[in-house]
Symmetry: C2
Subunit: 212 residues, 2 copies
Amino acid sequence: MAATPPRHLSPRKRPRQARSAATLEVIFEATVQVLLAEGIHRLTTTRVAERAGVSVGTMYQYFPHKQALLYALNERYLDVLAVRIEKACEGEHGAPLARMIEALVSAYWDAKTERSDVTRALYRSAVELDNATLIEAFAARMDRATSAMLATAPDAAFDDLTLVNTTLLAVIFGTVRNVFERGLPEPLESGLRRQLVTMCLEYLKAVRRPVA
Amino acid sequence: MAATPPRHLSPRKRPRQARSAATLEVIFEATVQVLLAEGIHRLTTTRVAERAGVSVGTMYQYFPHKQALLYALNERYLDVLAVRIEKACEGEHGAPLARMIEALVSAYWDAKTERSDVTRALYRSAVELDNATLIEAFAARMDRATSAMLATAPDAAFDDLTLVNTTLLAVIFGTVRNVFERGLPEPLESGLRRQLVTMCLEYLKAVRRPVA
DNA sequence: ACCTGAACACCGTTCAAGT
DNA sequence: ACCTGAACACCGTTCAAGT
C-alpha cells in the first residue's frame, strides 16, 4: 500500500530478521483462523497468541494494540486484491470498452466470491477501526489502474475521465459489496452481475465522445 | 420492521407503560449521544447508563445485552429511512421513469447526507452484530416500494421486473454507501450523484420493453 | 536483546439486597 | 414489582522478572 498508515496503527517494528517475519506470518494466520472459527467478537489477543503459539507480550512487540493487528491484516488483504485488479486492467489495455468492463467486474466479483468467508470476516473486522486511510489508498490505486485502462479504449473517449472513472468504481465496488452483504439467492446473483455489466456499458455509451 | 428479529436480539420486554416507553427513549438517546461523542469503541454499557441516568441493571431489563441495544437502534433508524423512501416512491406512482429515478436517488442520498454523522456511527455499530435479518427486512420493504412504483411507469414495462428492480436497488444503495464511506471532495460527490441517475436511466432505457 | 505471563484497569453481565 | 450497584469472569495492555 502506497500511503503511510497513521503512526498509531503501524506495526511496532519491521521484521528485519527471518525469524521475525515468520512470527509475523504465524500471527496473521492465527488471526484469520480465530476470526473464521470464533467470529469477530471472540477474537481476543489471548486467543490469537495462544493459537499462534506465542505469548501476548510477544504479540505486543509486533503490534502496539489489537487494532493495529486488524489494520495490518486488512492492509494485506487489500494489497492482494489491488494487485489482482491492476493485472486484470493491464491485460485489457487497448481492448474495446465491453471487454474492459467485463474484465473489471469479473476480477472484483470473483475475488469476493472465491473466499467469501474471509472477505466477510474482514469486512466485519475493518469497521471497528479507523480504516479511512486504508480505503483511500486502495481507492487511489484502483483509480489509477482503471483510468489508465479506460484512456486506451479504441472505441471511446471521455470529456471528464475522472468523473466517469470515479463513478464506475463507486458503482461496481458498491454494488458488489451490497450484493454480498445481502446474500442473494443464486439465479438472482449471477443475473445481477450481468445487469451490472450492461448498466456500466450503457452508461459509457451515453457519456462517451464518439471517436472519429 | 416486518420480520421478527432473532429472539436473542429482541428487547426483553415491550414497553407497556408510559414510564417504560420514556425510559427506553432515554436509553436510545443516550446511546446515540455516546456513539457520537465518544465513538463505538468507547460505547460501554456503564457510560450509556450513566448518560441516560439509569443503572446498568435497569438497562439490562430492557435489553438482554449490549448487542440487543445496538440492534434495536439500527432497527429504528432503518424504519425511519424505509418510511421516507416508501413515501417518496408512492409520490411518484404513474410518473415517468426519469422522475421516479430522480426521486429514489434523492430520497436515499439526502437521508444519508442530512445526518451523515449518525449514519456513519450506525454503520459502524451495525457491523459488530448479526444484522443480516435487519438488512434483509429493509431490502424486502424497499423491493416492494420500488417495484410497485416501477410497475406504474407509463413509459416503460419490463420482462423481468424483479431482476431490474433488484439491480437498481443494489446499485443505488451500494453506490451511495461507497461514496459516503470514501468521503469524496464536493465537486466530485454531487457530480457522481448525477452520473448515478444517468446510469440508472440509460440502463432502464436499454432493458425496457417499449410500450405501445 | 527478546520473551514471558502475572498484574492492572476496565468491560459486559448477573443477582442478592434493597425500595 | 422494579431498581440498584457491588461482584464476577474476562478482556486489552503493561512491565518486572526471567533467558
